[in-house]
Amino acid sequence: MPKGKKITQKAIEKPAAFGSDLDIRGFSREAAPWPSCPVTSLPGDIAQRALSAGVRTDEVDRAGTYFQIDRSAVFKGMKKTFGGKAEILSTKDALKKYRWARNYWWKLVDANMDKYTALANLRWDQGYFIRVLKDQKIELPLQACMFISRENFNQNVHNLIIAEPGSEAQIITGCAVHPNIQSGLHVGISEFYVKKDAKLTFTMIHNWAQNFHVRPRSAALLEGGATFVSNYVCMKSVKSLQMYPVAYCKGANSRVSFNTILHGGKNSYLDVGSKVVLQGKGSRGEVIARAIATENAQIKARGLLVGENEDSRAHLECRGLLLSDQASIHAIPELVGKVKGTELSHEAAVGKIAEEQIQYLMARGFSESEAESLIIRGFIDVGTFGLPDALKEDIKKMVDASIAGAL
């Protein structure tokens, strides 16, 4: 695409609409290729870190896996028992194998949106292609891991996820780094197509490092009767994170729900939101976000609901908890109604732990720190999100560890 590339060259200078701007030239593109290997035989330190992002290299309770280290797709495939239900490839292979895959490529996310999409277009390092076949229901989650093993590396992945009509699947994507890695830039483009009456639950867990910069760019298109649940968990501090995924509820009775759990500590700058565009008759959307800010973290929690159909409804709920006087949480909920009959609502609350709640629990015999962690855990209330069962306990543990660290 010579013409496309030209436009992208200009876009490479373009700062994102939100979040802190980055000098993308400051990162390295040098990475030795990793040889392919069975996911079960990955080195222990990598397996350990992947697990901390919800990806099991032993593949227990998982139906299939994609594993990428730096620029190399080291493993991809379905477990035998789930063969014929879905397909997992690297996106480079998928675009070679299927001509039609081009029809889904850069169609929901604009390659020229900002310097990060441009980067992913010009310096594209694989990513996964997951296609759940028509009417197939996969009980166990599929998993994908984006791993970085080089210091100061810039990884640009582009994922394509297609849930064919009537299919049902859960996908866990875990992002992690080698324990020795402190800094880097990850750009991740994800385009989701949830077709007629399909149901897709997508859970992304980020477990980056302290000096990481993270720029996911995701969009989903929902056909009639489709359901898309998108969960995002980031309990570990990064230097900067900016994402504003969008779901277009195009089909009649399509449903989307975005759930976000964020913890920013140290000097994190997190600018995270979710957008829902209600286009189909009877389409429904829900955005739930919980943000905790400790130390010097600055969090912007956004949300945008757009009602374009007369019979459409969405709700946005954003709660922020400040655990430090130096931290800040800025909730920015936005509602745009374009036609009469659309029902959009939001509730947002930002505050500290109420002293009377701590006192109350202490009068029941909890110590002050026990009371605080109970209240924070309750604030996040992992149980209320639509998390896959296989992940609920893991995420609870991540939240507990993160809270313990914060206190």
Partner: protein, 248 residues
């Protein structure tokens, strides 16, 4: 009666909350095994006294001390007091989102309490244990949940802040019977506005508070009947109350 050791002794307690004096050199003694009732008009310092006994940090103690079961607890944090055997049922407890009643129960019962039996006594449906603490509870549910938690805690000495206010007849009976059963062999201090709870709970002594002090003490039925008949306006004319008014 005088033979019994005091479980709670409050000596000359003066307390400020948010810069305002709420207790003015208050003295009170509750002997082991007795239940005392605290009466008084709104703003006389009843709830402030309970908060001071619990050691809430917003209660700044200017003078005096609080002895519990022989230990000076004046400067102990709330949870330490609880460990010594102090418990409370609050008047209007805060709601805590995401924290389940069952979780709190588990922590305080330490596996030593029959959950189902206790839920039955306090008329707490089992599904309530899955609900967020006090969130969207009705008046009666709040009170029952407080008693449920207190009973799970099994303190030697319990403070009850208006367990009977905002409660219908059926709930009053449940709460009253639960408290009465619990207090057998234990001690307590109970705030009541209209004394309804005393239909079920046997109290030994009643105290009337005015201006952050105890104005008079006596037989509960006698004092409540007088107050019901004549109101606190009448009490204000009492020379004792007048003296306290000057003293505060």
């Amino acid at each position: 009666m005088g033979e019994r050791l005091a479980i709670l002794t409050i000596e000359d307690l003066t307390v400020k909350i948010a810069g305002k004096k709420v207790l003015n050199g208050l003295n009170l003694e509750v002997p082991e095994g007795e239940t005392h009732v605290l009466l008084g008009p709104n703003g006389s310092g009843k709830t402030s006294l309970i908060m001071s006994i619990l050691g809430f940090p917003n209660c700044r103690i200017l003078s005096g001390r609080i002895l519990f079961d022989g230990t000076d607890i004046t400067n102990l944090p709330t949870d330490e007091r609880t460990k010594l055997g102090l418990g409370v049922a609050f008047q209007s407890p805060p709601s805590i989102r995401g924290v389940k009643l069952g979780e709190v129960f588990k922590h305080i019962a330490k596996g030593e309490v029959d959950e189902i039996g206790l839920a039955k006594i306090t008329n707490i449906p089992m599904e309530f244990l899955e609900r967020d603490l006090n969130l969207g509870f009705s008046g009666g549910e709040l009170k029952r949940s407080e008693i449920f938690q207190l009973l799970a805690q099994r303190p030697n000495f319990a403070l009850f802040d208006e367990p009977d206010s905002g409660v219908d007849v059926e709930n009053l009976e449940i709460i009253g019977k639960a408290i009465s059963g619990f207090l057998k062999g234990r001690s307590g201090l109970l705030i009541t506005h209209l004394g309804h709870i005393l239909r079920y709970v046997k109290a030994d002594v009643a105290h009337v508070m005015f201006y952050g002090m105890i104005a008079c003490s006596g037989k509960p039925s006698k004092i409540i009947n007088l107050i019901m008949k004549r109101g606190y306006k009448w009490c204000e004319k009492c020379p004792k109350v007048r003296r306290l008014r000057k003293k505060r």
